[in-house]
Point group: D2
Chain length 140, copies 4
């Protein structure tokens, strides 16, 4: 199942099937071997604090999780279940689209470790983290 040559357009189609992914306005920018870049389109509902207007950490957590997950798509051909996820918050994310870069850390046929970084519109790192993903084939 290694090294599928899925294009960014093909991965975009897979991702866009999910209503939550649509709500996040996800745009697949690039797909590589164990790598992916995804942009998310800012929306007012992301805001946690109406005065200071930064984005809720849950949005950043969702981006780390899904970007690390889809960084595996060149090997999995699909999104796979997350076993666990950890995120560090580095700076408040102010209004504006966010870009996430995902990268495989260690592949395994049972589970894989993958990481992602989230950048704000000025390309400043706002959050980063890792997940463990369940890569075994679903039971027939």
């Amino acid at each position: 199942m290694d090294a599928m040559a899925l294009t960014a357009e093909q991965v975009q189609s897979l991702i866009a099937r999910g209503p939550f992914h649509q709500w996040l306005g996800l745009k697949v920018l690039r797909v590589g071997d164990g790598e992916i870049n995804i942009r998310a389109t800012w929306r007012e509902e992301w805001v946690v604090n109406p005065d200071r207007r930064y984005t809720h950490g849950g949005i950043l957590a969702a981006l780390v999780d899904l970007t690390a997950d889809w960084a595996l798509v060149s090997k999995t051909g699909r999104g796979v279940p997350t076993i666990d996820m950890r995120i560090d918050y580095h700076r408040a994310a102010m209004p504006g689209d966010l870009t996430a870069r995902g990268k495989l850390v260690k592949w395994g046929s049972q589970y894989a470790v993958s990481e992602a970084q989230v950048f704000d519109k000025d390309d400043v790192l706002v959050a980063s983290g890792r997940g463990v993903y369940f890569t075994a084939s679903p039971k027939a």
Copy 2:
């Protein structure tokens, strides 16, 4: 700043100020000393897989983060910045409202550790996790 007697209604007002909290349809069910119970109202946009219809892990991550954070409100009087967060996914969360229970693990005047569990509409545990929160007073 310990043991403020904030009621569930008062905490509901604080939480409802956030657009993302509104989108999640958060309802504060109970506030205790270092404890909180919150319900989130299911919506179609939570779905990640249109065939199997379970909720995206990012929604569960947001619930763990915010519930663990607001479990501290009896000491902080406000939502505080998350330093880092970790979540374990236990089962697919099928459509339906989710209930999250948060509980302080260890208070500190610089940072605190707090945890949360998320249950589905049948009260089955679907995810749980922990965060470290920055509790020092904001600089004047």
Copy 3:
């Protein structure tokens, strides 16, 4: 493989086979269904800071990892590989034996989540954390 009735003595024998476990002076105090209590015997080499004399966080991490792992022994019958582990440090652990209590969070035939707390000689919580463990049978 569920509900093996392994006694504390039997688990002690399994654990004592490991040289690192011997070095930690591990003593199995109690084994339950998805639970274990283990004591570790303080030694001078645990100290990180010769002036303030507290125990190195790596010792606490080892205790969280192994205690959460062996909390599964009623289901696994053996120690199993750790997939990942996370630990929160709550207080400096001063010289003295440490006691760790482990507890299954969620069992699965592929992987399980388990947690542990570490207490100092005065029964004060000094660290706690969680791991994900690989529970699938080793390939024949």
Copy 4:
């Protein structure tokens, strides 16, 4: 407190004060700005499984923790308290010295995020992880 020009020898002296560090046979190989490379000297007591002879995950956790911590020494001038730590295990670490490379992820005057990778004697990645460290000055 930025950009102290501590040499590897000076950091070695600081690290070697800790009995646990001595037991791990730590050797500071290189110190850079927000970076450090450290070697640990294998010893029989590291073994968890007397048949398969791999190193206990607690040793790897200690190495991730301390290496990520001391990667900050160019800014802190000392080892600082760990707030929390997370480690992913990638492969069994067989007998032989281990080398760990630490790198600052995000500096802050209250807390910092730092990461480390651990390699076996053949330079294969066996574990990696991250910690959050308390960088505020100790109270006078």
